[in-house]
Amino acid sequence: MKANNNNLPDKNGFFGEYGGKFVPETLMYALEELETTYEKLKDDAEFKNQFYKDLSEFVGRPSPLYFAERLTNLYGTGSIWLKREDLNHTGAHKINNTIGQILLAKYMGKKRIIAETGAGQHGVATATVAARLGLECHIYMGSEDVQRQSLNVYRIKLLGAQVHAVDSGSATLKDALNEALRDWVTNVDDTYYIIGSVTGPHPYPMIVRDFNSVVGEELITQSKEMFQSMPDAIVACVGGGSNAMGAFYPFIKFNETRLIGVEAGGEGVETGEHAAPLNDGTPGVLHGALSYLMQDEGGQVKGTKSVSAGLDYPGVGPEHSWLKDSGRAEYVAVSDEAALKAFHEVSELEGIIPALETAHAFAYLDTLMKEFDEDANIIVNVSGRGDKDINTVAEIDGIKI
């Protein structure tokens, strides 16, 4: 299989037909500058040492691979293992990427950091690394997300960054990205844009994947230690797709491991009210890349619906589109309702309150575990913890905090 060669993207930033650089001319120079810097540093011993040192001492890596005994017993088929990205500093996998990108920013001498955020986890992770280096930091966030993720908004402010609420369009992650791109076009000379997912123009999908691949690399070692084989499946939620890509990428060459991405099914894929472009979208160009996209027959981007702010995005990283078309990864969707049920179930069974995003991956176990026997080992990537979602869930459950 072509996807096995792990040599993608090509020099123009394409994964098969997906990816590329579709940006206003003003940004072309900045993307080239970033690409050149990254190519120079990615194999540099000093750069790598610094990256892994920060991941170890500041983030607390490696994150454990934990046997979920009660969840395993619930299904009674394979063993379920949890990759505990929720235990990272700042509470999600997002910090892996920001640790890497802030080192690039520092090397490039950029004084000002910008980022978009949906659930706020990437905003927190960016504000955190910017604070550590004393850099000015601006976070763009849809005004709807500012409401539903108020805890993270306050965390970002505590870390000394400015939050800009974005009212345009659907006032969610997509619009925050638009606004961050506009900021970048305006301040391109001194500003580094830390994109938070495997989306956007080349080289971002590659850079974010590479930094977050520490998750998959650890999983290879940990799988051998814990159950002496490669896992039968890795399950991860997919919004833009960075936590999934980080876990999947080192496994692409191991065909025995099924790679399963779970998208936000919202009210149900059949209703059209969802955020599942890989399940119910067509190829299109948004935010600098060609990838599966939720769009209407005129090529306008459709509004999305998901209980989870971090998955509430009409596009997806181009490498996922490639993995879907090549058949190497499978992409499914679960509804808000199923995700909420899993949110409660995992909290009660395992003592782990997962992020609503992560709850989507857990929810798919209901279907998936029927396909395995007792010898199977299934890994769920616990992309983040659910503290940030307490208000959302309480409101849905009719509880006033």
């Binding site: 001319e25 900045a30 506009r182 301040n187 005129g298």
Partner: protein, 261 residues
């Protein structure tokens, strides 16, 4: 000959500067767009740039973003824009018309552009593709439609040449780092960059983004082959979107025209 090429050649021959005016199709509605296009031409506009609304116009400042939103609220599609333009051509078969928009809308309506019925459109400007590339590279081609490529203050010298050569309509020099309607013009920088472009371009070089006053227009027309006015017109359209009294837009354009003549 393509209307755009013809018009720009004539202007050059007579030592005149081109005035390009922008609006968003369907803002506040398509009938108004048709009226506004007539007002533009009466006031001295040489080329009309018709913005094709898109849900995520990343190169636009707030004024033009809101115009895109108003048009989308009216369910404006490229199909409807084509119908309006065909209608407009009954009144005016000379003024060059340029569609300006985002790649996704054009590749999704590939057939409309390829057919370009009655050759009503003269050029397409795609905001979100690298300057060396044009719609043909994305599988959309019509030999009667020419390409307008953007060059910005951050475009590196080695790319200026290939972008300039790729432009068959005109080279669109983006006068600032920023979105449409921003206000940080640096005339010295603009001067030297346009000089560099002119070394390579076989077509005229026009300047746009951030031109607000007649004085801005005069300064920039001195070093270029013409100017593009967008946000300041769209702002007036917004202010008159309920009254639909667009007369002062005509006066504003006449003033700009005078300043660059």
């Amino acid at each position: 000959m393509n209307r755009l090429t013809k018009t720009l050649n004539n202007l050059k021959k007579n030592n005149k500067k081109a005035l390009v005016a922008y609006l968003v199709a369907g803002d506040p509605d398509l009938d108004s767009t048709l009226d506004l296009m007539k007002i533009f031409v009466e006031a001295g506009v040489d080329v009309i740039e018709i913005g094709v609304p898109f849900t995520d116009p990343i190169a636009e400042g707030p004024i033009i973003q809101r115009a895109h939103d108003r048009a989308l609220d009216n369910n404006i599609s490229l199909q409807k824009i084509y119908e309006m333009v065909k209608n407009y051509r009954k009144y005016d078969d000379e003024t060059p018309l340029v569609l300006m928009g985002y790649l996704n809308t054009f590749i999704f309506n590939k057939k409309l552009i390829e057919d370009n019925q009655n050759n009503v459109i003269d050029s397409v400007l795609v905001v979100d593709i690298p300057g060396e590339l044009n719609l043909k590279d994305y599988g959309v081609y019509n030999s009667n439609i020419n390409t307008i490529s953007l060059i910005s203050p951050t475009t590196k010298k080695d790319r200026v040449e290939s972008i300039a050569k790729n432009s068959s309509g005109f080279v669109y020099y983006v006068t600032l780092r920023g979105v449409t309607g921003a206000s940080n013009l640096d005339v010295n920088e603009i001067n030297s960059n346009i000089e560099e472009i002119k070394k390579h371009a076989t077509v005229p070089t026009l300047a746009g983004f951030g031109i607000k006053s007649a004085e801005d227009a005069r300064l920039l027309s001195d070093c270029s082959d013409g100017v593009i006015i967008g946000s300041s017109i769209v702002k007036m359209i917004e202010e008159e979107s309920s009254s639909k009294e667009f007369d002062r837009i005509g006066s504003y354009i006449s003033e700009i025209k005078k300043a660059i003549s």
